[in-house]
Amino acid sequence: MRGEPDFGADFLRRPVHGPGSSFSELMKGHQPDPEAPSRFEGQVHAPEGTTVLALRFDEGVVVAGDRRATEGFQIAHRSIEKVFAADDMSAVAIAGAAGPAVEIVRLLQTELEHYEKVEGERLTLEGKANKLSQMIRANLPAAMQGMIVVPLFAGFDEARGHGRIFKYDVTGGRYEEDDYHATGSGGKDARSSLKKRYRLDLTREEAVKFAIEALFDAADEDVGTGGPDLMRGIYPTVAAISAEGMVEIPEEEIQRLFEELIADRAEDIRSQESHPVDVRRPGEEA
């Protein structure tokens, strides 16, 4: 049956075993089917999210993302949100085509909550990571037209008692990272920054500080990555997930950390030689 979702009594009488406890299975055959293969041709240009990262600390994992979306060389959005709570214990940070990525996040959020309500217990972190993998795989036809979604998935594994990070490729390939990862246009720069700072026994405060530093370094090198926007008061999003659940780091703290970082960097740079500009006019001696 295709068509509008049926909000009538039909749902209530479907056998319980039908789509089981999966929301995305339930949506199959309904319009819009979030996992239906697209039938468009040619390339599509849509806003892209740029840099996101995740790193582990001693009690969990920190996830962060800048706030810029680009469309070619234009800024599509200055304050887009790229870090989303998948549930209380995990987060998805999106990079790539923003539209399908946000839709995948919405579907994953509903999927996890749906499963928890129907089954009476949460999926394991591994289970959540695998489900996301299937959703990215389902996006492959869209990815072939340029709408690539490569998120990071990070969360606290309650069975193992520590944080875990998963990265993905376009085909839904899922790879676990032991320490840190960054993806998106400034991902390589952020990774280089994290590589110099990362230790196994970081505290949460240190991890937040290094995440901010890595985003700053990425914004410094990559045109697609947004730095702190002091004029408008827009700062990157940082969240920490531990056994107690997910906490978003308050904006005031992020602002303070950026101010400290900029003050430190400025001091280093100003102590070096200045860069005078010598304006020459035609005909003047060299």
């Binding site: 979702p5 749902f11 789509p19 309500k117």
Partner: protein, 230 residues
């Protein structure tokens, strides 16, 4: 060819209703009480995994009595219904009234067109910003819905439960509602009054819709948290 016996519609419906009522009367009861921060649900339930009370959506909870497989099917169908609606439109578009209506239609159809009616009664409850905006929809085996205030008792001993709570529940509702501990104690005493003896904490199922919680208002109390409330 033998002619089928004529049975008057009145007789047919009466028989079905009697059948459904008898089935429900064999089961245990559930009680819901509005308290100051939301709605409390309590049930006598010897199973720690087969629940009578569960979360449906952000502000909405479900309770069922009677035949487990029947109200469980309704519960899962309800979760599917609201999740699809919330995903297609927005979370705010999911209402208890819409869900109660769908349940009512389904149970009504089953009652009139199927040989065997469902032997269950359900409660759809939603917590509002104030006591006055709480919603309690009690839906019977034949699809009839009633909109309740203050408290609802369902299941085997619903009449006795109702009488017990009616005497003790604040008369000036909604101006005053009991606090959580008072409501839990009242619910426990009420269940004991019909249970014929002590109802141990281990066989109590307790959950709340608490308006002070973040998005998801539903919370189930684990066994170790129930005793301190009593």
């Amino acid at each position: 060819m033998p002619m089928p016996y004529y049975v008057s519609p009145e007789q047919l419906m009466r028989d079905k209703a009697d059948y459904a009522r008898k089935g429900i009367a064999r089961g245990k009861s559930v009680i819901a009480l509005e308290y100051e921060a939301g709605i409390l649900f309590m049930a006598e339930n010897t199973s720690a995994t087969l629940y009578k009370i569960s979360e449906i959506y952000d502000r909405i909870a479900f309770a069922g009595v009677g035949k487990f497989n029947e109200f469980e099917q309704l519960r899962i169908g309800g979760i599917r219904l609201v999740d699809v609606k919330g995903y297609s439109y927005s979370r705010e578009d999911v209402t208890a009234k819409g869900l109660a209506n769908a349940y009512s239609q389904t149970l009504g159809n089953i009652f009139t067109s199927e040989v065997k009616p469902y032997e269950c009664e359900i409660l759809v409850a939603a917590v509002g910003e104030t006591t006055a905006t709480n919603e309690l929809f009690h839906i019977l085996y034949d699809g009839s819905v009633s909109d309740r205030t203050g408290y609802v008792a369902m299941g085997g001993a619903s009449e006795q439960l109702k009488a017990y709570v009616d005497e003790r529940y604040p008369k000036d509702y909604p101006a005053s509602t009991p606090d959580l501990a008072t409501a839990v104690t009242l619910g426990h005493e009420a269940l004991q009054s019909v249970g014929g003896g002590e109802t141990p904490v281990g066989s109590l199922e307790v959950a709340i819709l608490d308006r002070t919680r973040a998005r998801r208002k539903f919370r189930r109390f684990p066994e170790e948290e129930i005793a301190p409330l009593l």
